[in-house]
């Protein structure tokens, strides 16, 4: 199965995301921001970093990259898409996910290992976890404070679309401790902390991040919805 990883100008974690996909057992396919061709990938990861220098707002310019036009269409058609950190910001700017990510409430960049509690496990990217499972993955952001109006927050909770919440301390002031959410269909997931940095004992605080990548492989195998990539 082929997992595409997009590189925007200013992406930082595309290499680690591709590596995580390979460790999970997928073929990693590098996608370029200026190329609208998705090269037949079965899923897409939008990695962390500072696309287009975070100019204007984080993710605001990346949302209009040629590759994003294709990803937005494909995501509406069910393609699994995971946005990590800056990728989450891009998904919100593209209106594939509700809400927005704003400056950390305390104004400091936060870089630490962070405990999360997984909630929704019926998504393409979290089906390998158990509800309530506590996982440890790195968080590193300056603008990770998730905000939305009360109605949107209530709807996310009522529809079971919060995929993970911060526990043992909220690193950025996100409303209701939300670390990640999904869309109605469960194929698009955004998460602020970095699962791709927790896939190997040598470099990560745990192997918990691997679950996101193995989840999508399982979901693709179950659904039989391969987009044409080789298995």
């Amino acid at each position: 199965m082929r997992i595409g990883v997009v590189t925007f100008p200013g992406s930082l974690d595309d290499g680690d995301a591709a590596r995580a996909a390979r460790i999970a057992g997928a073929e990693a396919v590098r996608l370029w921001h200026g190329d609208p061709d998705l090269h037949g990938v079965d899923a897409v990861v939008l990695p962390g970093g500072f696309s287009y220098g975070d100019y204007l707002r984080c993710g605001a310019i990346a949302r209009f990259a040629p590759v994003m036009e294709s990803i937005i269409d494909a995501a509406r058609g069910g393609l699994p898409v995971l946005g990590i950190c800056n990728g989450f910001q891009v998904l919100c700017e593209a209106h594939l996910l509700p809400g927005a990510l704003t400056r950390n409430q305390h104004l400091h960049f936060r870089n630490r290992d962070q405990w999360l509690k997984v909630e929704a496990t019926n998504t393409a990217w979290t089906n390998g976890f158990t509800p309530g499972q506590e996982i440890l993955i790195p968080v590193k952001n300056g603008e990770g404070c998730f905000v939305a109006d009360t109605k949107t927050l209530d709807a996310l909770e009522a529809e079971g679309r919060v995929i993970a919440r911060y526990i043992n301390g909220n690193p950025n002031g996100s409303q209701r401790d939300i670390a990640g959410i999904t869309n109605e269909a469960g194929n698009v997931v955004g998460i602020m902390p970095h699962p791709e940095h927790a896939v190997e004992a040598l470099t990560g605080p745990s192997l918990d991040g691997l679950g996101f990548f193995t989840s999508v492989l399982r979901s693709l195998a179950t659904d039989g919805q391969l987009a044409g990539g080789q298995q």
């Binding site: 204007l56 707002r57 809400g99 704003t102």
Partner: protein, 84 residues
């Protein structure tokens, strides 16, 4: 030159930690009668021809402001104001 100015501000209900940090620094300047500071962004768009407010509104709505967290106002800037 045909210039349209777009002012983008966080919606009133969205916390502005940058503005708060500035407000908290004001007493160090001896300023004690300020209750709130909020920070926004001013964007100047120069059209090659006549200023097109509808186009500018579309640009602001799609790209310059995020309607989830921000409001914007647009206006045509007069030549006289440009000098100032």
């Amino acid at each position: 030159m045909a210039r349209v100015v777009v002012d983008v501000m966080l919606k009133p209900e969205i916390l502005d930690p940058q503005g708060q940090a500035v407000a908290n620094a004001l007493p160090r300047l001896g300023v004690t009668d300020v209750s709130s500071v909020r920070i926004g962004r001013r964007i100047e768009i120069d059209f090659t021809g006549e200023p097109d407010l509808d186009r500018a509104r579309e640009i602001a709505d799609k790209l310059l402001a995020n309607p989830v967290i921000e409001d914007f106002e647009i206006r045509v800037e007069s030549a006289a104001a440009e000098v100032a």
